[in-house]
Symmetry: C2
Protein backbone atom coordinates (compact mmCIF):
# COMPACT_ATOMS: atom_id res chain seq x y z
CA UNK A 1 0.00 0.00 0.00
CA UNK A 2 1.38 3.36 -1.07
CA UNK A 3 0.78 6.44 1.08
CA UNK A 4 1.77 10.05 0.63
CA UNK A 5 1.85 12.51 3.51
CA UNK A 6 1.73 16.20 2.65
CA UNK A 7 3.24 18.41 5.33
CA UNK A 8 2.73 22.15 5.08
CA UNK A 9 3.44 25.02 7.43
CA UNK A 10 0.29 26.41 9.05
CA UNK A 11 -0.90 29.51 7.19
CA UNK A 12 -0.04 31.81 10.11
CA UNK A 13 3.57 30.57 10.27
CA UNK A 14 6.16 32.59 8.36
CA UNK A 15 7.79 30.65 5.51
CA UNK A 16 11.19 32.22 4.69
CA UNK A 17 12.03 29.48 2.17
CA UNK A 18 8.84 30.21 0.25
CA UNK A 19 9.60 33.94 0.34
CA UNK A 20 13.11 33.25 -1.05
CA UNK A 21 11.60 31.28 -3.95
CA UNK A 22 9.07 34.08 -4.55
CA UNK A 23 11.85 36.68 -4.81
CA UNK A 24 14.04 34.42 -6.96
CA UNK A 25 11.17 33.83 -9.41
CA UNK A 26 10.55 37.59 -9.53
CA UNK A 27 14.24 38.14 -10.27
CA UNK A 28 14.02 35.70 -13.19
CA UNK A 29 11.21 37.76 -14.70
CA UNK A 30 8.18 35.68 -13.67
CA UNK A 31 5.39 38.14 -12.86
CA UNK A 32 1.98 37.72 -11.27
CA UNK A 33 3.09 35.44 -8.48
CA UNK A 34 1.15 36.31 -5.35
CA UNK A 35 2.54 33.82 -2.86
CA UNK A 36 4.82 30.81 -2.56
CA UNK A 37 4.78 28.31 0.31
CA UNK A 38 7.11 25.37 0.55
CA UNK A 39 6.18 22.06 2.13
CA UNK A 40 7.31 18.49 2.05
CA UNK A 41 5.95 15.10 1.11
CA UNK A 42 6.81 11.74 2.57
CA UNK A 43 6.02 8.73 0.38
CA UNK A 44 5.69 5.56 2.43
CA UNK A 45 5.33 2.04 1.08
CA UNK A 46 3.54 -0.10 3.66
CA UNK A 47 3.17 -3.87 3.83
CA UNK A 48 -0.25 -3.36 5.53
CA UNK A 49 -3.18 -4.10 3.20
CA UNK A 50 -6.06 -2.91 5.40
CA UNK A 51 -6.68 0.72 4.56
CA UNK A 52 -8.12 1.76 7.93
CA UNK A 53 -5.26 0.12 9.88
CA UNK A 54 -2.75 1.81 7.57
CA UNK A 55 -4.48 5.15 8.12
CA UNK A 56 -4.32 4.79 11.91
CA UNK A 57 -0.61 3.88 11.70
CA UNK A 58 0.10 6.86 9.45
CA UNK A 59 -1.68 9.24 11.82
CA UNK A 60 0.46 7.92 14.69
CA UNK A 61 3.62 8.29 12.57
CA UNK A 62 2.70 11.90 11.81
CA UNK A 63 1.89 12.74 15.41
CA UNK A 64 4.99 11.12 16.90
CA UNK A 65 7.75 11.73 14.36
CA UNK A 66 6.95 13.15 10.97
CA UNK A 67 5.34 16.48 11.74
CA UNK A 68 5.62 19.26 14.25
CA UNK A 69 1.92 19.76 14.92
CA UNK A 70 2.52 23.12 16.60
CA UNK A 71 3.53 24.74 13.31
CA UNK A 72 2.65 22.18 10.62
CA UNK A 73 -0.48 20.64 9.13
CA UNK A 74 -0.53 17.27 7.44
CA UNK A 75 -2.78 15.43 5.00
CA UNK A 76 -2.65 11.71 4.38
CA UNK A 77 -3.34 10.28 0.93
CA UNK A 78 -3.52 6.50 0.51
CA UNK A 79 -3.26 4.96 -2.96
CA UNK A 80 -3.86 8.37 -4.50
CA UNK A 81 -7.07 9.13 -2.54
Amino acid sequence: MQARIHITLKPEVLDPQGKAVLHALGGLGFGGIEDVRQGKTIDITLAETDRSVAEQDLIRMCETLLTNTVIENYEIEIDGI
Copy 2:
Protein backbone atom coordinates in the same frame (compact mmCIF):
# COMPACT_ATOMS: atom_id res chain seq x y z
CA MET B 1 -5.11 30.35 -9.48
CA GLN B 2 -3.56 27.92 -7.02
CA ALA B 3 -0.85 25.50 -8.19
CA ARG B 4 1.05 22.80 -6.37
CA ILE B 5 4.33 21.41 -7.67
CA HIS B 6 5.40 18.01 -6.36
CA ILE B 7 9.15 17.46 -6.56
CA THR B 8 10.50 13.98 -5.92
CA LEU B 9 13.90 12.41 -6.34
CA LYS B 10 14.11 10.08 -9.35
CA PRO B 11 13.66 6.46 -8.25
CA GLU B 12 17.28 5.56 -9.08
CA VAL B 13 18.64 8.39 -6.88
CA LEU B 14 19.57 7.46 -3.31
CA ASP B 15 17.44 9.25 -0.68
CA PRO B 16 19.35 9.35 2.64
CA GLN B 17 16.69 11.53 4.29
CA GLY B 18 14.02 8.95 3.45
CA LYS B 19 16.25 6.17 4.79
CA ALA B 20 16.73 8.11 8.05
CA VAL B 21 12.96 8.42 8.45
CA LEU B 22 12.55 4.70 7.69
CA HIS B 23 15.02 3.76 10.43
CA ALA B 24 13.55 6.23 12.91
CA LEU B 25 10.05 4.81 12.35
CA GLY B 26 11.44 1.29 12.86
CA GLY B 27 13.06 2.43 16.09
CA LEU B 28 9.71 3.75 17.32
CA GLY B 29 8.15 0.32 16.76
CA PHE B 30 6.36 0.86 13.46
CA GLY B 31 6.67 -2.37 11.49
CA GLY B 32 5.87 -3.28 7.90
CA ILE B 33 7.35 -0.19 6.33
CA GLU B 34 8.99 -1.14 3.07
CA ASP B 35 10.30 2.17 1.84
CA VAL B 36 10.24 5.90 2.59
CA ARG B 37 11.08 8.63 0.09
CA GLN B 38 11.04 12.30 0.93
CA GLY B 39 10.10 15.01 -1.52
CA LYS B 40 8.93 18.60 -1.47
CA THR B 41 5.96 20.62 -2.57
CA ILE B 42 5.84 24.21 -3.67
CA ASP B 43 2.44 25.90 -3.48
CA ILE B 44 2.21 28.90 -5.77
CA THR B 45 -0.62 31.41 -5.92
CA LEU B 46 -0.72 32.95 -9.39
CA ALA B 47 -2.58 36.02 -10.63
CA GLU B 48 -2.89 34.35 -14.08
CA THR B 49 -6.40 33.05 -14.79
CA ASP B 50 -5.74 31.15 -18.04
CA ARG B 51 -4.93 27.58 -17.12
CA SER B 52 -2.76 26.78 -20.15
CA VAL B 53 -0.69 29.98 -19.77
CA ALA B 54 -0.24 29.22 -16.06
CA GLU B 55 0.85 25.69 -16.90
CA GLN B 56 3.48 26.91 -19.39
CA ASP B 57 4.79 29.40 -16.80
CA LEU B 58 4.97 26.70 -14.13
CA ILE B 59 6.90 24.36 -16.44
CA ARG B 60 9.41 27.15 -17.12
CA MET B 61 9.70 27.87 -13.37
CA CYS B 62 10.39 24.19 -12.70
CA GLU B 63 12.96 23.91 -15.48
CA THR B 64 14.83 27.10 -14.63
CA LEU B 65 14.73 27.32 -10.83
CA LEU B 66 12.58 24.96 -8.83
CA THR B 67 13.89 21.54 -9.75
CA ASN B 68 17.16 19.89 -10.60
CA THR B 69 15.96 17.85 -13.56
CA VAL B 70 19.07 15.64 -13.50
CA ILE B 71 18.01 14.01 -10.24
CA GLU B 72 14.42 15.16 -9.66
CA ASN B 73 11.02 14.65 -11.24
CA TYR B 74 8.18 17.10 -10.92
CA GLU B 75 4.41 17.04 -11.31
CA ILE B 76 2.26 20.13 -11.63
CA GLU B 77 -1.25 20.24 -10.17
CA ILE B 78 -3.44 23.27 -10.87
CA ASP B 79 -6.52 23.92 -8.73
CA GLY B 80 -6.31 20.39 -7.36
CA ILE B 81 -6.16 18.63 -10.78
